[in-house]
């Protein structure tokens, strides 16, 4: 009975919605126009132009085919930057996911007195990079505080900014800044898991680890996808730290794609820049679609 009712309702809605669609379309257009005009003018149309330019010479006149692409891919600086960026992402994102999930779980343990810690871990995302440049230098300089601490424990001083350690300093900064953001996403994911699942697990005699492994983790799968996507995109912002502290040409270990884009921009190398931007956009879109596709399959 209720099924029939639902069907009638649905087909009725279809008629209404067809009528509504037409009149709502016009209103929607009026509401959307200012925003979407800007999206078209500042992003979509010039992005199409960027893709076009990646096949043309620097002045955008002569067609040169894939020349810019091959020149980008064969470029030593690009290879260094792409490798570093990949390495950075491959190391940071799993670490960040684990640490922020750990913190989210700990914070749930101490409910309801966790407001202070939530604020604490979220705060770094509000800290403007420029305001901690000084602190960074004071900590990681050759004679800085980090080395003072190492010396106190009778360990060898490390040349943080002028060696491979620079890469790890950047990793640490990224983790420091983004843990809180992900913690909030994890907490939302954890909150959405129904208590009855845990109760059922408890009744079945599951211990704490088992209920985490068989209830919490599977329920967090959708969250893992979105957390990784957002972490990936936030990872591009570490350029700020790297650039403000070490300039346009930092130690090789932390020369990232972002540095390369910036330097090519300064040199006004529009063709190669366009080719690189197009490739980056395609790679990111593919990664995002893969993650989402993987998750939809799991659902």
């Amino acid at each position: 009975m209720s099924k029939i009712f639902a069907i009638t309702l649905q087909s009725g809605r279809k008629y209404v919605s067809q009528y509504v669609r037409r009149s709502e379309g016009v209103t929607a257009l009026a509401f959307l126009a200012p925003s979407f005009a800007g999206i078209l003018i500042f992003f979509l149309i010039p992005f199409a132009d960027t893709v076009r330019r990646s096949f043309y010479d620097v002045r955008g006149v002569n067609f040169i085919g894939l020349q810019s692409y091959t020149s980008v891919i064969n470029n030593a600086a690009f290879r260094l930057a792409a490798t570093n960026t990949l390495r950075f992402v491959a190391i940071c994102i799993p670490l960040l996911l684990l640490i922020s999930l750990g913190i989210a779980l700990l914070i749930r343990c101490i409910r309801p007195h966790n407001a202070l810690f939530k604020t604490t871990f979220l705060l770094p995302m509000a800290v403007p990079v420029a305001s901690i440049v000084l602190l960074w230098q004071v900590v990681f300089n050759d004679n800085g505080l980090a080395n003072s601490v190492l010396e106190f424990f009778n360990l060898n001083a490390v040349n943080f900014m002028g060696s491979g350690a620079a890469f790890w300093v950047l990793v640490f900064t990224y983790l420091w800044k983004n843990t809180g953001y992900n913690m909030i996403l994890w907490l939302a994911g954890l909150d959405s898991i129904s208590d009855t699942l845990y109760e059922a697990a408890h009744v079945d005699g599951a211990n704490k680890w088992q209920s985490f492994r068989y209830v919490t983790l599977p329920c967090l799968l959708p969250t893992i996808g979105i957390v990784s996507i957002l972490s990936l995109l936030n990872s591009f912002k570490v350029f700020r730290e790297a650039y403000l502290v070490a300039g346009a040409y930092p130690h090789d270990s932390m020369y990232l794609l972002q540095h390369l884009f910036n330097n090519w921009f300064v040199q006004m190398d529009v063709s190669r820049l366009s080719a690189a931007a197009t490739m980056l956009a395609v790679v990111l879109l593919v990664i995002i679609l893969l993650i989402r596709g993987f998750l939809d399959e799991k659902d």
Binding site: Q137, D142, L185, I226, L273
Partner: protein, 292 residues
């Protein structure tokens, strides 16, 4: 009996959870402590303690940081406030980028978000996908497209070159869209005014119900533009128009006392805004995390 054991266990595990949390929280608290105490130190003390880290004179002297200043002094603060007019210019420059950008995000974004959330029309899903895809692109992808337009419009080195791309960014639209989606339809219908047109419904019903997500967009937008580095660096060639975020690294190299106080001034508005809007900020972050 078992229950008592259980609650004891719970208490213990709670206590154990505090230890790593406090240890990790120290990494954040220490930074704030450093910024606050550093600003209260006299220039002499700054030079004597952390000066070694910035000297680069090849000496072996290591920097250290006292827990509280031994000789507190306000000269760096006073000097910044009285003797460095260019600091105020930069501070003002930052606001001249932040306020129009964030206002633009709200004024342009809220109606668009409302339309995408409440109206059903052909192409709606595609539009939402476009907004999401744009929201997920880092600056390195949009840098060239933005530059091409800005150059064509003759806006290079103009503040609008930074403001306009921010004002049209897709992220706030997405957050507000999620916010409007969360308002139950029944509530909307109950609140809707008989015979009111679409604009009035939006202003009198939509906007008030969407306040949390609008504030979320406001807070996230403020923090984004306040700390922005890539955009002004790329599109503002003239240092006299630079915001504080570009100016600070320069004075770090020049003057320790000033840099310390100026850093605090860069930090404070962001932290205050964060504390004021933390609830909404969390909402905004969660909005991006919900699968549609």
């Amino acid at each position: 009996m078992k229950r008592i054991n259980n609650s004891k266990f719970r208490k213990n595990s709670r206590f154990l959870a505090f230890i790593p949390l406090v240890a990790l929280a120290l990494l954040v608290w220490w930074v704030l402590w450093f910024m606050g105490m550093g600003s209260l130190m006299s220039l002499e003390e700054l030079n004597a303690t952390i000066g070694a880290a910035l000297a680069n004179d090849g000496s072996d002297e290591r920097a250290f940081f006292p827990f509280i200043p031994a000789w507190p002094g306000l000269q760096p603060l006073v000097r910044l406030l009285l003797d460095t007019p260019h600091f105020f210019v930069m501070f003002w420059n930052t606001f001249r980028l932040v306020i129009p950008s964030v206002l633009g995000q709200l004024v342009l974004g809220a109606p668009a978000a409302w339309a995408l959330s409440r109206f059903r029309f052909r192409g709606r899903k595609i539009l939402i996908t476009v907004y999401i895809a744009l929201m997920l692109m880092p600056f390195q992808v949009t840098m060239v497209p933005n530059f091409l337009v800005i150059d064509r419009l003759g806006l290079m080195d103009n503040r609008l070159a930074v403001i306009l791309p921010f004002a049209f960014s897709a992220f706030p639209v997405f957050i507000m869209l999620k916010g409007f989606d969360a308002v139950p339809r029944a509530l909307l219908e109950a609140a809707s005014i008989d015979g009111a047109n679409a604009v009035r419904t939006f202003v009198h019903v939509g906007l008030p119900l969407g306040v949390p997500s609008i504030l979320a967009a406001l807070v996230l937008g403020f923090l984004e533009v306040w700390g922005a580095i890539e955009q002004p660096m790329t599109f503002l060639g003239d240092p006299s128009a630079w915001p504080l975020s570009l100016f600070l690294p320069q004075i770090v190299a020049e003057e320790l006392g000033l840099a310390m106080v100026a850093s605090l001034f860069m930090l404070l508005p962001a932290v205050l805004f964060f504390l004021f809007g933390q609830k909404y900020l969390e909402l905004g972050i969660q909005a991006a995390g919900i699968k549609e």
